[in-house]
């Protein structure tokens, strides 16, 4: 069981790292928000699930699952709020024609 939990934790850490790299590499706010919402949320969910498995079914693992449920709903909502305010303030998205902009 501990090995399974550590494998999940490792996968979560990898996704979290990919999310960070994406936030640095991608060209504009909208694409960066993709990197901030998807790999990051999955990384956190996998990590918390792995910790919950290592912890082994006591009250702490229930709380870890509560964090998972909260973040899985809250993270997309926060990204959506940022994206909406970006659209309403008229931030233009990057398109392929525009070349690299870091």
């Amino acid at each position: 069981m501990t090995v399974l939990g550590l494998v999940l934790l490792f996968a979560g850490a990898c996704f979290v790292l990919i999310g960070s790299i994406g936030v640095i590499r991608l060209p504009d706010f909208y694409t960066r928000a993709h990197a901030a919402s998807k790999p990051d949320t999955l990384g956190l969910v996998l990590s918390m699930a792995g910790l919950a498995i290592i912890q082994g079914g006591d009250l702490s693992s229930i709380k870890l699952l509560l964090i998972v449920a909260f973040v899985a709903i809250a993270n997309p909502a926060a990204t959506h709020a940022l994206g909406r305010s970006a659209v309403r303030s008229g931030l233009e998205p990057w398109t392929v024609g525009q070349g690299a902009k870091r």
């Binding site: 550590l6 960070s20 960066r32 910790l51």
Partner: protein, 95 residues
């Protein structure tokens, strides 16, 4: 698996996540618009939640650290929402 090995693996993972936490600071400092900075901040917040839980596991006090992590998750979410709302109404909030 032996407890000591688990501790080593957890420390290595915490190191990876620590690197992943430092990288977005580039975006927070550099990012051309304020939205880029906010994306960086929310990414850093997510990683901090994981790091708090791992710290609690390493110290054997995960029950206490999880409560901190929950409070941190809620503050992170509320911070993003509040600043997004503010930027939506502020005319010069572009940089």
């Amino acid at each position: 698996m032996e407890g000591r090995t688990v501790d080593y693996v957890i420390s290595a993972l915490a190191f990876i996540i620590g690197i992943a936490l430092l990288l977005p600071f580039y975006r927070v400092i550099k990012g051309p618009t304020v939205f880029d900075r906010m994306v960086g901040v929310s990414v850093i917040g997510t990683k901090t939640i994981i790091l708090i839980c791992l710290t609690g596991f390493a110290f054997g006090r995960i029950d206490m650290f999880i409560d901190i992590a929950i409070a941190y998750a809620m503050l992170n979410f509320l911070g993003s929402i509040v600043i997004a709302k503010y930027l939506e109404t502020s005319p010069e909030g572009r940089t």
